[in-house]
Amino acid sequence: MIIKTTKAIPGHEITDEKVFKERRTLIKSMMAATLVGNSQTLLAQSSAKWPTLAQSDLSAKTLTPTPEKLVKEYTNYYEFSFNKEDSTKLAQSLAIDPWSIEISGEVENAGKFYLEDILRKQTLEERIYRFRCVEAWSMVVPWVGFPLVNLLNMAKPLSSANFVKFTTAQQPDVMPNLRNESILQWPYTEGLRIDEAVHPLTILAVGMYGDALPKQNGAPLRLIVPWKYGFKSAKAIVKIELLKKAPLTSWNKSAPDEYGFYANVNPSIPHPRWSQNSERLLGSGFFTSRRQTELFNGYGAQVAGLYSDMDLRHFF
């Protein structure tokens, strides 16, 4: 059985077609970038895993990515530490090979899938997205990945699947805050409504900056939902369940007044303790203003329709 939303599969097809058509422009722009001396492209050509990936129309090609070093050294990974620098160091002990993902619940084809087998069937593409953290900072990251809907289709969701729950890695030996049972109930879980999950902007990322994902950034496989606050984009996913009812998600469970299930980026709905109106773009210099945060992180044209009949203040 196929999901109710008819746009899922055609959407995927359209994406591929555009990626294909995009190739020439991409090659041209890459040549231009090399001429200007874009260090990233140079780096990519020398050693990166995926130096020349196709980019779909869903990638923000005009945005300048945040310097890679800043993205690598500024990660929230509470399983390891509450401190961004420490979590980067500690995350290096995460065991990620081999990796499998269990898909279960309201699907025809439940089972355990090895990451390499999944990747063999996927065409990877680069998606330059804005990433907005609930802590009011943001960055621009060129992710490498594939639409989540492609993986969901492999498992053939039933029409009763209304929500998707993501469960992340649980390795207490290397995750101090799992052993201390600090702050959240572990493992970290996140969730999406099915129409959000099959939206062409929602991807599973396996890399960034043309290379494999660093462990602190969510290796080997993470969710990226660019119009939602960063905590929705769960890292190191081990299980994907399709459910009839909405799952309880980690932050929502721990502080329901502060972190909603939807967590769509919205400058006019402040966190109870701080404003969400503006954000600090990483990499911008001293004496540069903060950036005005955009509704749905700037992806309103693509996703506002998902929430057209909803009170965003109530479903925050």
Binding site: E73, E135, T288
Partner: protein, 216 residues
Amino acid sequence: MMEKFTTFLTMIQSKNHRWSLIFTLCLLPLLGLLLDIIFNNLGSNPIQALHIRLGDWSLRFLGITLAITPIQTITHWRGMSDYRKLFGLYSFFYATLHLLTYIAVDNNFMWGLIWTDILESPYIWFGIVTYVIVFLLGITTSNWSKKLLGRNWKKLHRFIYIAGIAGVIHYFWQLKGNLAEPLLYALILFFLLGFRALVEFTRRRLSKMMIPRRFE
């Protein structure tokens, strides 16, 4: 070598030099920050790091200022009030840099963004309360204002307790997860204020019993 060390010791022992030494030591956090800016050591979000470190030092100096009276009471060591004044002024100094960083370095004087940010961020309200108090205490430090304000001077300067509490809440409320550090500040503040409450309580009981006061 030994000679130099002896001169150094006499230098510290002389009151004037000791004051200058402590005055200079209090500038070291600022020097450290400037070096970290020059050598790009502030991490991926240097503006936030700078902002937080200045706030941290303001709160630390506020704590040190509040610790002087209990230390005097316990050790009966007089003559520390000069240093209390110095530390209090340093708290004001770092708080002012913290505020200027917010307005200029982080927001580049975009008053619209600043206004919305303040309106929608309760944690900033506590920061403002703290700053207003520290500012008022800072500008009324001189002996001249002490004379001018008379009895009200002491009343005004008791607001430092509220500044301490509001400052810790300001720190606490902007965090998402790691509460260990603000809890440490809260604990220290609890002891510093608790000590005063205890002294006051004992004084009242003693005066009720018509026993001569033992504490100031």
